[in-house]
């Protein structure tokens, strides 16, 4: 029925190094991560992630794709340090993740901007909110200005977030996450709440930012088009318990045209994969 499914999913091609030696290329190493949530009301245990292993190279753009409830956001939250894995471990830049930190910028689905600070104040926050970063950026204003220009918000420095459109809010959120010069960006469906037109514009803007900064990006989405348009690699996850079902490497160079033949094929394949997943959940 699906000839490409004959070969085992390419998850296995990433050998987990058994020795303590650090592999410098891999920015992110997720090793055998399982996450079990226990309901506080009835004590029922829900397995959100099961034995997930994934490596992300430095500078790579990876999209986590899957039906809702598949644990892709849980995986991202574990990478961010908001959640602890029940089993397994996560290394970012060779350090075990034990909590949230400024080495991993996070962009939320809802912009989560500090409404009481101007665009400038929001972007500056990460540069002055702890003594380490203050030492690292003795001249924060220059960095703030650069980040604001990078996301195309020059001229809006003194505007408060509630007077910005949804797309512009997400630009601020990206600038704020980039300001402390993190090793990577974690993005949780950042364009999910935007209208189609703005979403398309923002995808282009993000690729431009990525090409200029070359940050490693892990991007959660449920849109196949978005994943195919953005990512170097698309990681498809199964319905609960979330496991990695398939990894697709997309080598078409950017800017991509979604009507390109090979991208059409990839889209059809991913569509099929996710379709079967959703059927299984409903059954």
């Amino acid at each position: 029925m699906m000839p490409w499914k004959v070969s085992p999913s390419p998850v296995g091609e990433y050998d987990v190094p058994k020795d303590d030696e650090q592999v410098t290329e891999a920015r992110v190493k997720v090793d055998g991560v399982t996450k079990v949530f226990t309901s506080t009301t009835n004590g029922r245990r829900v397995e959100a992630l099961q034995e997930v292993s994934l490596h992300v190279e430095t500078g790579e753009f990876v999209c986590l794709l899957g039906p809702s409830g598949c644990g892709k956001s849980t995986l991202l939250n574990i990478l961010a340090g908001f959640e602890r894995p029940t089993k397994g471990e996560v290394l970012v830049s060779g350090h075990r993740v034990s909590g949230p930190g400024p080495d991993r910028g996070y962009v939320f689905q809802e912009p989560a901007l500090f409404d009481w600070m101007s665009v400038w104040g929001n972007v500056k926050f990460g540069l002055v909110c702890n003594p380490d970063t203050r030492k690292r950026f003795p001249d924060p204003d220059k960095q703030v200005q650069q980040c604001i220009e990078l996301v195309g918000l020059k001229g809006f420095e003194h505007t408060f977030p509630n007077f910005l459109s949804g797309g512009m809010k997400q630009r601020v959120a990206i600038a704020r996450a980039l300001a402390p010069d993190p090793d990577m960006l974690l993005m949780d469906e950042p364009f999910g709440a935007l209208d189609a037109q703005t979403r398309y514009l923002m995808q282009g803007a993000l690729l431009e930012i990525w090409e200029r900064t070359r940050k490693t990006i892990v991007f959660v989405t449920h849109s196949i088009e978005e994943a195919v348009f953005l990512a170097d690699r698309v990681v498809v996850m199964t319905a609960r318990p979330g496991k990695i079902k398939w990894i697709d490497r997309i080598q078409v160079c950017r800017p991509r045209d979604l009507s390109d033949m090979s991208l059409m094929e990839t889209r059809a394949r991913l569509f099929e994969l996710i379709g079967t997943e959703m059927k299984e959940t409903e059954a």
Binding site: A80, G81, F82, G99, P100, G101, P102, R104, G105, Y106, F108, E110, A112, L113, F114, D115, W116, M117, F125, G126, C129, N130, P131, D132, T133, G152, F156, T159, F160, P161, N162, F163, L164, S165, G167, M168, R176, A177, P180, Q197, T198, L201
Partner: protein, 282 residues
């Protein structure tokens, strides 16, 4: 990008013009015409004998009495500016003390579930007790006089401020905390720059309610426990059958409450949550 920009400009100009309109004379008239109409009808009714002087003196009589009490010290009633300043001073002191105690305590209770579980039952018991119900105990502790009045203002204001602050801190969207943590904010930085501003809208509501509650307490407290202040003036006026002074005192109390509400709280509101677009201002 360009569509984004025009959207923003439209939204911003709307907001600015909306704010500006509220200060024009036309707007003021639309808001207060009923007050003016009532004053006119009242004055006419009193002048043409429909309202006996013993029931309700005319507004002009009330104004004259207020003016004469301001200019001369009445042997029984005292001087209006003296009473007014005395009441205001007590109000400021009592309310200031209430803020100084309730705000930090509320922040603490809002942040820590343990502290909240321990102290909230206490707050819940005292909150419904009217400020004036504390008068006998206050007199027992502090005697008759200004101290008792200040204590009653304090106790009247403290509960709403506490509730507002606790509620504000408890209801912060979890995203804010996560965003601050992922940027590496220290606990102190997060508290002062994120948690407190994020809950400011509810904190301000608590302050407003606390202020209102204590301003309503002060008159009663001064009637019972003091020999100065607007409340005392009202009780003397009642004893001496001076309806004009009673009405003047009531109007002054209402007007003062309104002016402080407008100049202090509305301004504060507009300078913070209003300016940030976190709440519709009127």
């Amino acid at each position: 990008m360009s569509s984004d920009g025009s959207l923003l400009i439209a939204a911003e100009s709307d907001l600015l013009t909306g704010n500006r309109h509220t200060t024009t004379g036309k707007h003021l008239f639309r808001r207060y015409w009923l007050v003016i109409a009532i004053l006119i009808v009242w004055e006419l009714a009193a002048r043409y004998g429909y309202l006996p002087r013993a029931v309700l003196p005319a507004p002009s009589t009330v104004a004259q009495s207020a003016a004469s009490l301001t200019a001369h010290r009445d042997p029984a009633l005292g001087s209006l500016p003296d009473h007014l300043l005395r009441s205001l001073g007590r109000q400021l002191l009592g309310f200031g003390l209430a803020v100084a105690v309730a705000f930090p305590l509320g922040v603490w209770m809002g942040m820590s579930q343990k502290v909240r579980e321990c102290l909230l039952p206490l707050v819940q018991i005292f909150y419904p007790v009217p400020g004036l119900a504390w008068t006998p105990l206050a007199i027992l502790w502090l005697g008759l006089g200004g101290k008792t009045v200040i204590f009653l203002i304090f106790i009247g204001a403290i509960w709403p401020i506490l509730y507002g602050t606790i509620g504000g801190l408890q209801n912060i969207r979890p995203h804010y905390g996560r965003a601050a943590a992922s940027l590496g904010a220290t606990h102190f930085y997060q508290l002062t720059r994120v948690s407190i501003p994020a809950s400011l809208s509810m904190i301000l509501t608590g302050l407003r309610l606390g202020y209102g509650a204590s301003w309503r307490t002060i008159v009663g407290a001064e009637m019972i426990a003091s020999t100065s202040g607007l409340g005392y003036m009202l009780s003397v006026a009642a004893d001496t059958r001076r309806g004009d002074v009673i009405v003047a005192g009531m109007i002054i109390i209402g007007a003062l409450g309104f002016l402080i509400e407008y100049f202090a709280f509305d301004r504060l509101d507009r300078a913070t949550v209003g300016r940030w677009g976190m709440r519709e201002t009127h």
